[in-house]
């Protein structure tokens, strides 16, 4: 447990430093939680006449992933590079296609998902997002 906590802080610290070093002058990829179906208009952002041109944070509404084994792994690993909306946006896909997609994330994109979690993610997608079983 202690090792895990230390590793977590090491990784997080490394990420923060790396982000700070690489693009000090840019504020990148800033997202904030949001609700869908809201009729409220976003408030206008305050603009200053300096040289920084800024947009508000990009909203990230909660994604309704079907409950089931493997959902947690999806939320942890898939979320590293993209929100799980990349899953719910898809049409129902054949089981083999889901397997190929997850393998592509590891092999082509270097996601580095541990083997047991990879298996769990594939089984989760195959259990809820194919023609035979997709409900939401």
């Amino acid at each position: 447990m202690k090792n895990k906590v230390q590793a977590f802080f090491l990784v997080m610290g490394g990420l923060v430093i790396a982000a700070g070093v690489v693009y000090g002058q840019l504020k990148k990829g800033y997202y904030s939680p949001a609700e869908l179906g809201s009729l409220r208009q976003p408030a206008p952002v305050e603009l200053l006449s300096d040289s920084s041109y800024q947009a508000a944070a990009y909203p990230v509404p909660v994604v309704d992933l079907t409950p089931g084994d493997g959902r947690q792994e999806v939320q942890i690993y898939c979320n590293t590079c993209h929100s799980p909306r990349y899953i719910t946006m898809q049409p129902p896909l054949p089981a083999a296609t889901w397997e190929a997609e997850v393998n592509k994330m590891n092999k082509t994109f270097g996601a580095g998902i541990p083997e047991d979690s990879t298996r769990k993610i594939i089984l989760y997608l195959e259990a809820h997002y194919t023609v035979e079983n997709r409900k939401q």
Binding site: V22, Y23, Q25, L26, K27, K28, G29, Y30, Y31, A34, L36, G37, Q41, P42, V45, S51, S52, Y53, Q54, A55, A56, A57, Y58, P59, V60, P61, T80, C81, H82, S83, R85, Y86, T88, M89, Q90, P91, P92, L93, T97, E101, T108, F109, G110, A111, G112, V131, R134, Q136
Partner: protein
């Protein structure tokens, strides 16, 4: 005040007038000319996904979302951001910036750019590497303006059968704008491309958390130095006369007229001359189409490993009916105006035809103003349905190279190059 203006639900109305069963009674009470709808239609949402059949809607089915500097657009994904433009924004030749679709590949996209430090860099195999500020781009070079369609390679991907994974776009991953900026050629000439160079590579400000060297880390695109399209490319700092929205590539974006948007690098910051081929994922693996007519193939051929691919390039000819959109009935005998747009990456659209019998008989539409070979061209036609019923309106365009939209579907594993004739069902009601 007319009862119908009071926004009462039918159930509420029933309560008030104390009638419990007779709709007829209410109809009579309201008078002969107006009746309440059977059930209020609001509250019922679009389905949350389509498939395994083709998406039958013009747009994709996601919810609306309001992103920074944008009007509500259709959400495909939120991180990275992919947004589709709703159909009605295509009534005009130029798509408003705030409604222009959005497609990013990697998670870390800019929220802010500091123009004090930002520079456009031209580097690599050049005589003199350059780093130009935005004021330098605006003042040192003669501005050029050009209308050009920016269309996502995967636009209409949700039409394919069988469905393929990827952004499930309807038809709204496209837009047309008047782009103003600097000719790419002038920048290349100023830096001096050295002998033996083969490619020009483009990199913007987006980055991903993936390992260095992989497609999940950087989004890189390149064009052959011998490609004549380089003479037409513009590094644009204005979009429809305004600064680009951050989500569309502020401060500058590459415009590659006639080519799919994958080459139109957003937040363009590095222009790199290479003397080797580009082996990065986004050129070698991604955004490739079968080297066949229309990029067409089959799942079986792909499985058999028989398909040779090439990088995607120009936009095949397309056209759309924008209004009427099928959401309302049209009374029989009413003369209505059909409106839409057409474009081609191969040359000016010079003919648009419409059909009201699903594509058997065609009549020629009137073309709108010509904003240049790479722009949307609006069209309109007048139409009267004499009798009630369901009509299948179809539209097809032809460009000056005599490319006409085909009526056959296309399939490839990337879900690219869809340009089949589009149809819209219109219900004509009894007017008497």
């Amino acid at each position: 005040m007319n009862m119908t203006e009071r926004c009462l639900s039918r159930r509420g109305l029933l309560k008030i007038v104390g009638v419990t069963s007779s709709g007829m009674a209410i109809g009579r009470w309201l008078g002969p000319h107006v009746t309440m709808a059977q059930e209020p239609a609001h509250g019922k949402g679009m389905e949350s996904f389509t498939g395994p059949g083709a998406n039958s809607h013009w747009n994709s089915v996601g919810p609306y979302v309001t992103e920074p500097q944008k009007v509500p657009l259709i959400l495909l994904t939120d991180r990275p951001v992919q947004l589709e433009t709703p159909r009605h924004y295509f009534r005009t030749a130029f798509t408003p910036n705030e409604a222009f679709y959005v497609r990013w590949h990697l998670e870390a996209i800019p929220n802010a750019v500091d123009l004090k430090t930002w520079k456009l860099q031209i580097e690599g195999n050049v005589s003199k590497a350059l780093a130009l500020s935005l004021p330098e781009l605006m003042q040192k070079f003669k501005p050029v303006s050009l209308a050009a369609v920016n269309q996502c390679s995967g636009n209409s991907r949700s039409r394919l059968q069988p469905r393929v994974p990827g952004g499930q776009w309807g038809n709204g991953a496209m837009g047309n704008a008047m782009w103003t900026g600097v000719r790419l050629r002038e920048l290349l000439d100023m830096a001096g491309v050295k002998k033996g160079s083969v490619l020009v590579q483009f990199q913007g400000l987006e980055t991903g958390p993936g390992p260095e060297g992989l497609g999940s880390n950087l989004f890189l695109k390149s064009l052959d130095l011998g490609n004549p399209v380089l003479d037409e490319c513009v590094v644009a700092y204005l979009m429809n006369g305004e600064p680009l929205p951050m989500l569309n590539g502020f401060p500058v974006r590459l415009v590659v007229p006639g080519y799919f948007a994958t080459y139109w690098t957003k937040c363009l910051t590095w222009i790199r001359i290479l003397d080797v081929t580009d082996e990065n994922f986004w050129m070698k693996t991604g955004y490739r189409v079968p080297d066949t007519p229309r990029g067409n193939t089959t799942p079986e051929e792909v499985k058999a490993g028989k398909v040779k691919t090439v990088p995607i390039e120009r936009l095949p000819v397309r056209s759309f009916l924008i209004s009427p959109d099928g959401s309302s009935k049209i009374p029989a005998g009413m003369n209505v105006t059909l409106r839409g747009i057409a474009f081609s990456g191969f040359g000016r659209v010079n003919r648009v035809e419409v059909s009201d019998d699903g594509g058997i008989n065609w009549m020629t539409a009137k073309l709108g103003e010509d904003h240049g070979a790479y722009s949307f061209r609006t069209w309109e036609a007048s139409w009267t349905a004499k009798s009630p019923g369901r009509y299948s309106l179809a539209v097809r365009a032809t460009d000056e190279k005599n490319n006409t939209q085909p009526d056959e579907p296309v399939w490839n594993p990337g879900g690219y190059l869809w340009n089949r004739i589009a149809r819209q069902e219109i219900v004509v009601g009894d007017a008497s």
